[in-house]
């Protein structure tokens, strides 16, 4: 259960720990103060009750002081909760900075190596989990040790012999922990795979539910789920029977310490038992010892409760490493004021060579599938770096039209409505109002419609360059004709570069690069 060595190796963990290092020390101080004040308040209460019973006189100042330190402890706790929450938010923001740097600046290949759903899931879970690991879990562990220590020290002040007795039970308890820990581990490793497999079965069946329904298998799968869940329950129960023994050991020692002390101290009061430090004490002292005894074990229980949060947090930190340490992609293009290339060789070794593009007009990049048409578009747009050579760029802003184009929120302007109509998108009744266009943004459209939405958006903007990747490939002939006309119109005022298989569109171009013929530039 202790901190493992390899945790220190996580780069994400190290830099996150460094980011909150300045808060951990004062937080430890405040929490220690809160703890100490609470214990002192309890001792004050024991003192007052002891005096009242023995002398009939209630020491009001002691009781008042006890109340004050209780209130102070409560305020310190609230203060530290606030500080902990702010520190965790700070740490979570550091993790989010990593996510931002990764998704916004890393190379697209690196980003697309992670499945989008997985990345979205990690964005929502990992900042909190990682922040918890470096703040709450770390503080919790420190405070467990300090809490047990504080209770023991206070006990020692009242009676060092009583404290010593509890201290001596510790090695026995640790021995129990080790034995039970081994037992749990043996049991868990035998069951872990089965339990993981079983616990994922429900999620898996839900993920595949439409297919299950389509295959009329829902009854069979429901029965199967019932069996799986029963199996899971039986295996989990077996594991829990052992795992809960850990908590039981703590409970046992905590109960035993109260019972033992109560009996020994009681015998001491009666004078039936004489042992230095346990007999001849005042009632105030014995009540104080009784209150402090469980406080020695209570922090250890909290330590055990941190186990899951700690495990989840460390897991998050470890898997954050590649995101935290990713390198930003560098735009290697030179801002020359016009688009062109010098000696460019694409990543797939296709040679583009020297090429100067005009500032307006329709340019077609053609060639068979796999010849690097999209790659050349990406290289010109600065999305990908060439293998060799130099790319020049004109303006930073360019429009991009493709089946996977990202769509901006609809503006519902008149220009936009005109553009949608021009590209025949309003043929689909869904898109006759702004709400329909919102569907498009939410990803509920086909590839062909997405191309046209992206183009419609470009028509309403003034970006001087437009890149289009296979703009007519997924369209019926009427829509394709509308798209060609729109591109051709745009080319009168802007530079329009299309990668295409479409011979009709290619025929409209003023200039054509055939990547099938490699570096040959046909004008």
């Amino acid at each position: 259960m202790g901190p493992k060595k390899h945790q220190k190796d996580s780069a994400a963990g190290a830099s996150l720990r460094a980011a909150v290092a300045g808060d951990i020390r004062p937080l430890t101080l405040i929490q220690s103060a809160a703890l100490l004040l609470r214990l002192l308040a309890m001792l004050g209460f024991a003192q007052a009750v002891g005096r009242l019973v023995m002398t009939g006189h209630l020491p009001l100042p002691t009781l008042l002081l006890s109340g004050l330190s209780l209130a102070a402890s409560c305020l310190a706790s609230i203060w530290s909760e606030r500080w902990v929450a702010n520190t965790e938010t700070k740490a979570a923001n550091v993790v989010l900075d990593w996510f931002l740097r990764f998704t916004a600046r890393a190379s697209i290949t690196d980003v697309q190596a992670i499945e989008p759903g997985d990345l979205a899931h990690r964005l929502s879970r990992q900042p909190g989990a990682a922040a918890g690991a470096v703040v709450s879990v770390r503080l919790g562990k420190t405070m467990s040790a300090l809490g047990a220590l504080a209770a023991l020290v206070l006990m020692a002040i009242l009676s060092w012999q009583a404290a010593l007795i509890l201290l001596l039970t510790m090695p026995i308890m640790v021995l129990f922990f080790i034995v039970i820990g081994r037992l749990t581990k043996a049991k868990a490793s035998a069951q872990e795979v089965a339990i993981q497999e079983l616990s994922g079965a429900f999620a898996e069946k839900i993920r595949c539910l439409p297919t299950i329904t389509a295959c009329d298998a829902s009854e069979d799968q429901a029965l199967n789920l019932g069996h799986v869940l029963t199996d899971y329950r039986i295996r989990s129960s077996q594991l829990l029977r052992v795992a809960f023994l850990n908590a039981a050991v703590l409970d046992f020692f905590s109960s035993l310490s109260i019972a033992m002390l109560a009996i020994f101290l009681g015998l001491g009061h009666l004078g039936l038992f004489s042992f230095p430090g346990l007999s001849g004490l005042s009632l105030s002292t014995t009540l104080g010892l009784l209150i402090l005894a469980p406080e020695v074990f209570q922090p250890l229980r909290r330590y055990a409760e941190l186990y899951h949060q700690a495990a989840e947090g460390e897991e998050a930190l470890k898997s954050l490493d590649p995101i935290a340490t990713c390198e930003a992609k560098v735009d290697t293009r030179l801002p020359l004021g016009r688009v062109g290339t010098r000696g460019v060789v694409l990543a797939n070794h296709a040679v583009v060579g020297d090429w100067d593009l005009p500032s307006t007009g329709l340019i077609a990049i053609t060639g068979p599938s796999g010849s690097g048409k999209t790659m050349l578009l990406k290289t010109l747009a600065g999305v990908e770096a060439p293998l060799a050579g130099q790319v020049f760029r004109a303006e930073r802003h360019a429009a991009w039209v493709a089946v996977d184009a990202w769509l901006a929120a609809p503006t519902n302007s008149i220009d936009e409505a005109k553009a949608l109509a021009k590209l025949r998108l309003t043929d689909d009744p869904r898109f006759r109002d702004g709400e329909g266009a919102a569907h498009a943004v939410a990803g509920e459209v086909s590839g062909g419609q997405r191309v046209r939405f992206a183009l419609a958006h470009a028509l309403t903007q003034n970006d001087p360059i437009l890149f289009a990747d296979e703009p007519t490939a997924k369209l019926d002939h009427r829509s394709a004709e509308a798209v060609r006309a729109a591109l051709s119109d745009l080319a009168a005022e802007r530079l329009v570069i299309v990668a295409t298989h479409d011979p009709v569109l290619t025929a409209l171009a003023v200039e054509r690069v055939d990547l099938g013929a490699r570096s040959e530039v046909v004008v």
Binding site: N93, P116, I212, T213, G266, H269, L290, H397, P429, G448
Partner: protein, 520 residues
Amino acid sequence: MFRLQTKLWVLALILGASTTLAGVLLVGVSSWFLASVALAGLGPAALLFNFHFPAAAVRLLALIRTGGKYAERITGHEAALQDQAVHREQLFRKMAASQKTRARGWQLARADELEAFLGDVEADDFEPLRFSFPVVTTSIVLAILFIVTAVSLPLALVLIVPLALASATGSWWAAQKAARSEENARNQRGTAGRDLGLALSGLVSLDARGDRDQVLSSIVGDARRAEHAASDARQGLGAAAAIASLFGPLAACAVILVAWTSGARGEGLLLPVFIAFSWLAIGEHVLPLARQIFAHRQAVEARGRLGSWTQDVGAVSSHQVTMPDTIVMPLTSPSGASLGPDLTLSLVCGRPMALLGPSGCGKTTALKRIAGWLPWQGPGDHPLGSETTARSMVHYSLHDAVILRGTVRANLFTNKADETLWHALKVVELEDRVREAGGLEAMVSQDGWSLGEARRLQLARALLSDKPFVLFDEPGEHLGDDQAARILKRCLQELTDRRVLFVTHQHVLANLASVQEVIG
């Protein structure tokens, strides 16, 4: 509150209440014992004091507290796990019957949406363990303490009752506030997750336009707001626990003060000492009240969201009809808007029909309406009787091909003979792949297989179906043109005794049909 395993929960509650009571009494009795022996020790009564009985009681309480806690944990978790098994199976059945499962797109195929859904299921599953169980056990012991106090020191309740009410109200208020913050965090996370998904799928275009940084900054900004809200929730619950921790000590003080002012002295203070230390001990159990109420709120909200997945279980009808040879239906969008002239579909065994058109032209919606997955729209009743009978007559091979983690056999959803399964796998060109993986009992999952392989498995499922009418949605998706044509041709040869209709955007596949209709 304890919906399913009532008996087990009752046992757990008895154990829980006894354990909590034993823990409280352990502190109370021990303090009483110390005080009484201290008083006895002052005089000659010391030798006459029978300490055996209280000492035995203390030992017994310590044992009950330890053993009871263990038994309570085991019983409570056992009950919760049994609840979970029954509950999840029921939920699965309801969802399988729900209209939403057959509607457009399956949100829960996405990792983040599925995770959020599972979080809701868990919040609902474990509500008894996280809320009802601890609250009921603590309340039972609190009630006992209230009664004891009312009988022996009624004046103390004048102070304790307002304290208890203040603690309960404060915890409730903090839990409500935290639940609102958490809801806020959840929504922000949902928005950030969805927008991130869209941005990642359009990442190339964002990069090319130079908007990548700006769009992702705004998405991460939403995620930051979510973290802030979640932090507010945690902070509120922490503060509530800190304030609730005052309850036990203050109640104990109240008892002592009332006893003192009412003139109790010496032996007369022994009972108040017992009661005061008992209140002190129960304080520890009141501490997590805000967290427990918060868990309850979360469960209530989760149930609300889960409810949306189990609504609209369509009416069941067993009205049988004979299979028509033609179906005339309007071409509509999922919402019902017209997308073009009516479709006339010819359904003759051995003469497969293809609908050719670009995506978004309403092909899938037409298939779903025929298959009874979406409500029928058009003149008169469903040509196959009703949506229910349509589902019993039609095998609908979905556009999204998925692989369930499990064996190849489990993924074929049939109990036909092995030769039949191998034949189907051979037709879809998966025979070698499956043999390589280890045969019909080999474990497969979505991660280990390509989209093309998932598509072919999907086609094999259709071949193994006994339904008289088979609908394919984009049977060539994720396959190369040649392979798609080869496999579909063989599938159609296998299905000559059925009516087959498929939709595609690929000419090469549409050409394999006996009847072709171009739409869009």
